[in-house]
Subunit: 293 residues, 2 copies
């Protein structure tokens, strides 16, 4: 059988202390235990490692040789252990978050900022993709968690809702006369509509919902980012379908106005996705905490 690794730890300590007794102390063992351990090691390797003297022990040449290896090995294990502990205390490590870009800008940013302040040694990696792509990245292990627009139907993923969001329609100065007018879904179609492009979950969600109400939208303009939606609406290019929570600045500033629909689009959620059955890394776990509070 192979040699008990404990013996190497003891050997290592004895070599450093040049004494069985002192090593025993530092190892919280008795001297005979150390003596026996070294004898066992010497026996198994079939070679003398120490020369015993009345005032301690000295490494033989072969012992010196072995020590070069054990010393590095033991200290490697020690630092490995230490790094794990650091990671646990979030003093090191990295956190790879996949997120759709809409969310990252309007929702995630403050959390990222806070997390980075609290744990500056965690390396943050943010990957912007569509929800579907994020699910794949999760399975590939490329990201630790994904922040996605719900709903997601994937049995291998664990989903935790973390924020309600409300889809609304907004317009700028040009359509100011619509303020305090209540509008039906049908009437919306009379106006030029601005939507995200149809790969996005948000677009799909609203489009699907309206379709279930018998409304088939045909956007005048399709854009790639939520930012552009807001800006296009602001300069009067049409009525944009946006997320209320992500449009607060514009609404508060009075540069955009929300349409009063007879019936709101049902709220949907942003959720945290992770692989089912896979424990989160400490950093991921902590970050999820932030989001859920």
């Amino acid at each position: 059988m192979s040699i008990r690794l404990e013996l190497y730890r003891i050997f290592d300590k004895v070599a450093k202390c040049q004494s069985f007794s002192k090593a025993a102390n530092e190892l919280y063992m008795t001297q005979p235990a150390v003596s026996q351990a070294i004898m066992q090691l010497e026996h198994e390797l079939d070679i003398r490692l120490f020369t015993r003297t009345p005032k301690g022990v000295n490494l033989t040449n072969e012992g010196k040789m072995l020590f070069e290896y054990t010393n590095s090995a033991i200290s490697l294990l020690d630092t490995g252990e230490k790094r794990i502990k650091e990671t646990k205390n979030l003093q090191a490590g990295e956190l790879k978050i996949g997120v759709s870009d809409t969310i990252s800008r309007y929702y995630l940013l403050p959390y990222l900022e806070r997390f980075h302040n609290d744990y500056p040694n965690i390396k943050l990696k943010i990957i912007n993709r569509t929800t579907d792509e994020l699910c794949n990245l999760l399975k590939l292990g490329e990201i630790d968690i994904g922040i996605c627009n719900l709903p997601i139907t994937d049995d291998s993923l664990k989903i935790q809702k973390c924020k309600d969001i409300q889809d609304i329609f907004v317009f700028g100065e040009k359509y100011k006369y619509l303020i305090s007018t209540v509008i039906t879904y049908d009437e919306l179609l009379k106006y030029p509509l601005i939507f995200l492009d149809n790969r996005s979950k948000s677009r799909q969600y609203v489009e699907d919902y309206l379709f279930s109400k018998g409304i088939k939208i045909n956007p005048e303009i399709e854009l790639g980012s939520h930012d552009l939606l807001l800006e296009f609406a602001k300069i009067g290019l049409g009525i944009a379908c946006v997320v209320k929570e992500f449009s607060k600045e514009y609404l508060l500033a009075g540069t955009l106005y929300e349409i009063n629909l007879v019936e709101n689009i049902p709220k949907r959620n942003i959720g945290i996705c992770s692989l089912k059955g896979v424990s989160l890394s400490p950093a991921s776990e902590k970050f999820v905490d932030y989001l859920l509070v």
Copy 2:
């Protein structure tokens, strides 16, 4: 307390096998043992190292991190062990021999040559010093064994006789008339004597012996090496006290002749010295074997 190093070995194997069962096999343990070991490690580090799946296990991010360390550490210990075994089989290592130069040239050389042929991977270091200095080097651990002129009285040294040598007096052509003449110690003093310088054991031995017989020598010439003794005698500068075994070439070639003394100087010995109570390295041991056969 610190973590059982065995756990790291098991962890390492599991990480490589990506399976508790397979690792158990390779470690000659049962699966539950491995399972428990990993759980213990995870518990002590307070972190998940593997994610369990129905078809094996996978390293978590933290597990991967730890593995980088354990993997190197374990393989370091393995190679350390391997090198020790090589040393034991004389496939590596070094052999430091201290020897007085007289001996090294005439006695040791053939043994060194043979040993080096048999074990070319052992690095040989030969150190030439006087016997007294060699004893000190032994105690300092600078040499593994010393090949010295006996007698040596030092309780901390282990002495093994390995060769008889006979001190004789020789002369060259100039004193050819002495051939087949029997000579007393007293008569020797009539001739110019050539001795080694008085730091050498050989000189001391003969001088002391003759003194015990009431003869006080007063050499005409004192030289630093046995070589020179022979050469000086050959060209007729006197009668040299040399070691018979080291002078064979000259005696056989007829360039030097041995004096017939009424009574031979008592034989003395070359011996192998090593530290008492300290086991010899495998290489040293083997070399001593060569000398003693």
